[in-house]
Symmetry: C2
Subunit: 398 residues, 2 copies
């Protein structure tokens, strides 16, 4: 049916390539490109279908344009770094090709997560007659689709949304980050933020927490209120919404490590003079920590990501919870990646699938809440991320 | 009376220069040398007596010899790095000049504290007719003199010694080390070791601890069993000794930081490849942490260092405790250094004082336990480190 050009060759990319390869009817041709071609080649070597690979610097728009013109894909699927989103969007505009990503753009020198920069492309994508789908991962991504699915089938009005992201996995290291530690640490040390009654409210980093007995005996972690990018698009796109919050689980040991590393300056992102060289402490820390790519084989346990949604049904207050659980070892068996990469990569493939098959289409820049949830929800069930809906809350979050 | 050549220009050196300058009858001339002459000059500028300064690389024996020949001191007082002890001893041998240091030699590439290397100089110093006094700081140094003083005046036989080193000071930083962090961290992460019934027993690092209510309301820290170098010389020089242990206080937060830094590899002393450069993580950490020299003005609280000694007096078992307390802010007012540097620097000056005035003399290599404690104890009282003896124990250490 179509051809996809995947840019980026990290942990999520590997899952995307595996999962696209499982759907040859939609993804007839797959091209994989990144700054380091050898990384593409080693992903391609895991797949029993031919995958074309290429070298490209995703910060270099002319290089991207040249590659897109040569490959002629139906869709560019961006799983490079969030810093690079705008360059790839520019290249798609110049070549008239549809675009999809899994995480919103952030400038490299701040820890600011905002859709502003990408929403500013709305008119240009519309004028070019092409579609950009933003944030088609799990969170953001599936979490938004979960909410619109509840809105469509279970409630008449959605009033509050609590997104809860639990990773109850254990990699056996005293400290390691599940994806790029630079981005991970910047996210966690940011101030908490949630949306209520039309405005944003801030909290000190990790200052609001609840103990959570996760369904299906997955664990009993503390979950912490933090900002996450889908809150911004949910607030914009869900009518009647009164409050939207995001919660993530962190172990005590993980937080202890983070606190100490912050205290001694190891999470600093400015340059430090050392032996006549300029060194960014967080990048040196990253070099010391286990490579996230090596965590896959040794991570056991499950993830649980869900939305607890309240609202009105037939004039009565009602709470509905919808969630997915995912087992690290089963993911690894299937695609040689743990569940963190798996839960992001599968929804990216599904979004791309729906765009290439024209089930989801449009002109302009779209968030996940703007699309019909049903075909996406069906594919989640058949592509490795089955979900459940239960009546009532799973936790009292006040 | 004499001339001292002080080598090294760190925190302890600054105290030594201040205190030597207070005794012009003994230290008629003071010469201060280190790798960085400007450091010597800024110490000299704090003193209202003329202090001569010089540049010398303490790793370079011919350079040291040349300097000693030029200066013609009565004593070389070594407060450089422990790695450099042997080079300075070599230079003293070649020039026939007496030697004193405050910490035993350790090879730079291991965390091994042993007197072996310096005791091996015994015959050469004897043959040259000169004296080396090893470890004339507080611990080692005063702690050994405390024990021989108790042995001389309060007990007929010393059976057990527990040295307790408490720093109840607060510098207001989440984490900082009180002296060279490289040496500090290597010491603390080493396995614990104590001497009992003629042999050394090992413990896991920081695995044995007691809560200690420090006399004079100084604090209630946990103290941890660890190895310290004076245990080796006490075991050799105190007859009848059955057990010798060393305990140091650490705050929970300090240990938490140390644990995490160890977990992520920041205390490693091997080289790590980063951006094409070889970097020793512990040295990079040192560059991030507050400079110990800047802690002085902001450190409040006191130190308490003492020896709890048991033995026989007139055929009966008896326990005697002897200790000094020292106030960080008062030290800073007097010599612009906090108590950690002060308690090491003052005993170095006293040892030098006794050697130059020939109250302490000898040919060969000597530890503090081999000298008459009385003149040293008198000078402690008059030079800023007064001590107290009390009957009975201050803590039950099992």
């Amino acid at each position: 049916m179509g051809k996809v050009l995947i840019i980026g060759a990290g942990g999520v990319s590997s899952v995307v390539v595996h999962k696209c390869a499982q759907h040859p009817d939609v993804f007839e041709e797959i091209v994989l490109a990144s700054r380091t071609k050898s990384k593409c080649d080693s992903i391609a070597a895991q797949i029993d279908r031919p995958i074309e690979t290429a070298q490209v610097d995703a910060d270099n728009v002319p290089e991207l344009v040249e590659l897109i013109k040569k490959v002629q894909p139906d869709l560019v699927l961006n799983v490079a770094l969030p810093y690079q989103d705008l360059h790839i969007m520019d290249a798609c505009l110049e070549t008239g090709v549809n675009y999809l990503d899994t995480a919103n753009y952030e400038p490299e020198d701040t820890a600011k997560f905002e859709y502003k920069w990408q929403w500013d492309y709305q008119d240009r994508f519309k004028d070019a007659g092409i579609m950009a789908l933003l944030g088609s991962g799990f969170d953001p991504g599936v979490t938004s689709v979960f909410c619109t699915y509840i809105q469509k089938h279970h409630l008449d009005e959605v009033h509050t949304i609590d997104i809860i992201d639990v990773n109850a996995g254990d990699h056996g290291y005293p400290f390691a980050t599940n994806f790029n530690p630079e981005i991970n640490i910047r996210e966690v040390t940011a101030r908490g933020r949630y949306w209520e009654k039309g405005e944003w409210k801030e909290t000190d980093p990790l200052s609001v927490k609840h103990a959570f007995e996760v369904p299906e005996n997955i664990g009993t972690p503390n979950i912490y209120l933090m900002y996450h990018e889908e809150l911004e698009s949910l607030a914009k796109h869900i009518p009647h919404l009164k409050r939207a919050r995001f919660w993530m689980s962190f172990g005590d040991s993980y937080l202890k490590h983070l606190e100490v590393l912050g205290n001694v300056g190891m999470t600093r992102i400015d340059e430090v003079e050392f032996n006549g060289q300029k060194i960014i402490p967080l990048q040196f820390l990253k070099a010391l920590l286990p490579d996230p790519a090596t965590l896959g084989p040794r991570t056991v346990g499950k993830t649980w990501i869900g939305c607890q949604v309240t609202g009105l049904k037939d004039g009565k207050e009602k709470t509905v919870t919808i969630y997915n659980t995912c087992d690290h070892q089963e993911c690894y068996k299937e695609v040689q990646s743990q569940a963190i990469s798996y839960t992001t990569g599968v929804p990216a493939m599904i979004g791309a699938n729906l765009m290439i098959s024209k089930v989801w289409s449009g002109e302009g820049v779209f968030n996940m809440e703007q699309m019909d949830p049903d075909p996406f929800m069906d594919l989640l069930n058949t592509c490795g991320l089955p979900w459940k809906v239960i009546d009532g809350p799973v936790i009292d979050l006040g």
